[in-house]
Symmetry: D5
Subunit: 132 residues, 10 copies
């Protein structure tokens, strides 16, 4: 299960300036709650869970008082490994979890997921406002 309590922050070294931080993790993996577009019941019984999904998570934010600690972000994203979750929900949940911990001025989360059933999916969500 996703563990938002793993996320750690440190003080923004330059809070007086609007600047951007982008962190890209090409090794995101979770499970599809229903086995996904490409699996049937026999396969799921074998796996005792859903079929694995793979993708890249890209997080861009304008920090306010805090920055995300990189190692803790890695651990937080690892916590989806054996969790069954849809693409749309995963991206919105990552956005909500980080926003709750970090309170950034602006944030965007992009989930770029591998081809399933011959179709590739990209989900993009944002919160906050960019400075003028």
């Amino acid at each position: 299960m996703p563990q938002p309590e793993l996320l750690e922050i440190f003080p923004n070294p330059h809070p007086g300036r609007d600047y951007e931080i982008r962190m890209t993790c090409p090794e995101f993996t979770s499970l599809c709650p229903l086995g996904g577009i490409e699996s049937d019941a026999t396969e799921l019984a074998l796996l005792k869970g859903g079929a694995p999904d793979f993708g890249t998570i890209e997080i861009t934010y304008v920090p306010d008082q805090s920055c995300i600690e990189l190692k803790s972000l890695k651990l937080y994203l690892w916590s989806y490994r054996n969790d069954g979750i849809f693409y749309e929900r995963a991206v919105n949940r990552i956005l909500d979890d980080i926003t709750a911990r970090l309170a950034p001025r602006w944030i965007e989360v992009v989930g770029d997921f591998n081809v399933r059933g011959g179709i590739k999916s990209v989900v993009t969500a944002r919160a906050g406002t960019k400075g003028p």
Copy 2:
């Protein structure tokens, strides 16, 4: 014949937020109603239909109350396989069919078709309005 009744939806897990979903299918194929720019009558008689067209369909939308179920989208796009349809009509029809079923806040459909007669074609249509 295209079968819009194959399209299924599920409730948007985060309807309070404007966010984007992009689904890209590089395996779209249909037939050209007149045999197409590269075929003559003899060929068409053999095929009992038009010459095959190939392309990539990219669908981007901002969901309102619903999201497209990925497997059903795959089946819907497969239903063009033995249908004779022009590029311009195919892209507009996909846009109309999905809009009718999904009622998204905003949607764009891009059909990027393979070279025929030394010419490559891309058709792009949109409906709805993007949030501010």
Copy 3:
């Protein structure tokens, strides 16, 4: 000589919507009226015309009542093959010829020509207005 009478149109299948069609022809060739930057008089005498130019023509438009028929566009572009014409004039002429036949809401023609004398040239012209 360019033959605009080769251009054929068909009725726009969705005239109620602003949408874009892009057709890209990477096999455009014409002759340079003066032999071009890379040829001298002896060569031109041999060729009984100018040196060959090569390039890609990309045509993007928003249709109004009509669309360009793809096969006729191919033939129209072939009609430049043995015609001597400068880059700037060719792009503007293609724009004028198609506009006269098609009356699109908006149109752009890009001519991306191969290196001559170590210099690459791209000419871009537009007509009409894009919808809001």
Copy 4:
């Protein structure tokens, strides 16, 4: 069903020389006999056949007395469109059909098929002997 009778040949214009001809078709499509790794029974019922497969077929040969006529090769490859066939069988069958009709000195057929179930497949078969 594959129609090898569509294949036509013409006399090799230079039979005294060992030389190679490579023809690449990136628009090959067939059906998977069992619905494939990514489909279940419900989907197959809808499609009245198997799930579509897509790939690139690359044929390289050293001609002896004959060459393959390009248009007839196109029609022959089209004849797999609604046929259910496994990758391994398709590649070996194309090799056998062309060899029977063409009697080349040497031939290689490569089938490079799109990702299914997160796995990409390439099948390569050869017949005959290359000259020293």
Copy 5:
């Protein structure tokens, strides 16, 4: 734990010919038994296992009497997901498991693993002999 019993085979449709089959899985993931080059004890305690490794497994073989069934290969590779194993051992084990089940004429397994500690690793093992 890797489950070689998941691997299924089907009869080679053309056993009289030496030909090659290559299957590439870019979604391989396992765990590092000691947490790996980039993790410390605190992280491992959180994960109740090792740090995740990611890579691409490419399997090429010349079939003898049997071919690997694609869906079963997918399930077999999934069975490494929560298993702790070093790169060198994983590649050799996949080679041994498939060889035991398939008895190919020749086989090669390449594991191309993602950067860890600023260093990328590729392990390549082979068994059997290629025909002349």
Copy 6:
């Protein structure tokens, strides 16, 4: 019509050494004698010849007493512009014409032609022997 008399040579500046010269012309164009895979009779009547073919010609050779003069090669390749010729014949003819004029120790001609009917063709011919 191809004009081999345009080809000029100059003395090899280093005849005592086996070395290679490769000249690549990405702007080769000719006509297809029958209009080609993508044209019908109406089109051909308009063009008073065949449909245009496009490709890249790559010539590699080990000179003996002479080298090809670059400008004359350009003119020679231009002389195919309005000539109807099949791919296989064009490549073999270029090989024969250059060999007759140049008498190289070894030569290879590759014709890499653009997609026609969804199929790309590459023809490769060689003459002479490479030094040990």
Copy 7:
């Protein structure tokens, strides 16, 4: 330790015009103050400092009265080589040091750092205002 006193400037040759200068250094390296996401205490004792970080620094500015002397910028960036500093602080410090010395009309500094712990980081900061 970073040495801003190494930075040298020269008079802007065209102060009457708003124009942009972009300098990209793909060879930036510094140390991570805590050893970084991928190192433990044993490693750091060996290195008598932190683990090395690598990245590309891209500086874009609109000059006012002065331009940065390229050689002095190289030396200034070298001065981070054995300094322990976080990504966020490094980018903001480079921006501040150059701004203090150069007083540009507008400036942007992008630090694009290599993957650590499977995550890539890019930090972007700006100062000043771009002309209308």
Copy 8:
């Protein structure tokens, strides 16, 4: 020394329309007045001038009454070959020289220079106003 008198113009074939012309020369070379970031006094004595600089010059403009003649632009850019000039001054001078001769509605000159001292430089200057 740069020779702006080499620049020649011809009448714009379509002065009634705002359109763009882009000319890219990847073979620009000049000398660095002080020998440059990578050379010392001994080298410069050998060269009787500065160290060579290399780059790509890209010129984009909206013509008014005239267009630049391509061959004359080639000669003008050649005239920098043995001239010692800084990047910033070269780009602004090319902009000034062409503007003086051509009087375009809008013009942009980009100088993209090769790596020196591990740093790549790009200088971009503009003049005039783009139509609405």
Copy 9:
């Protein structure tokens, strides 16, 4: 100074088989003993050493009784960071140090160094014999 004592090994998990391991480190950096092709005495005085060199080290080997432990290789390569060494000597030294510790059946070290003075260098050395 390079510290070969940092290199650690572990038992080869499959010593009965000839297989290959390739490890690529794109973050190698050292100093040039004389300041390098691009620096003068003033710069070197500032740096109290030579100018930094950057490159990628690729190590491929066939293990005998042992494999290199990945983390220890990372530390060993870090130990060149503040060492002055020429390209040719660095590659041969890495080969000698690893061979002394590992005793592989075959090994190759490639050092691919960044552009200096407009010239890129690659040094490749090998030891041992590859199995038949």
Copy 10:
């Protein structure tokens, strides 16, 4: 005029081993003795020499007792800047000059020259023998 006396060598640090060094210079430029395929007499009068040629020179060798000093190679290649020389002669001359100074066990020189008259040229020469 090319100045082979600029070439300097230093002792091979590992003469007991056959290993390779490759140096690639993408900034080679010379003049064409006759003005070249793309220039006429008027241009040449302006330039008081031939038209400029550009290319990449790649030198690979197995050292015997000596290695080429990198800075001296840069200066030697610069000495072709204002020299009129054909491609074939330039590559053979570089091979001869370096061989005379360096006496390598084996050496290859590749000159990869930019497009002239729509044709790209690559010249490759070798001397000596590679070890078994």
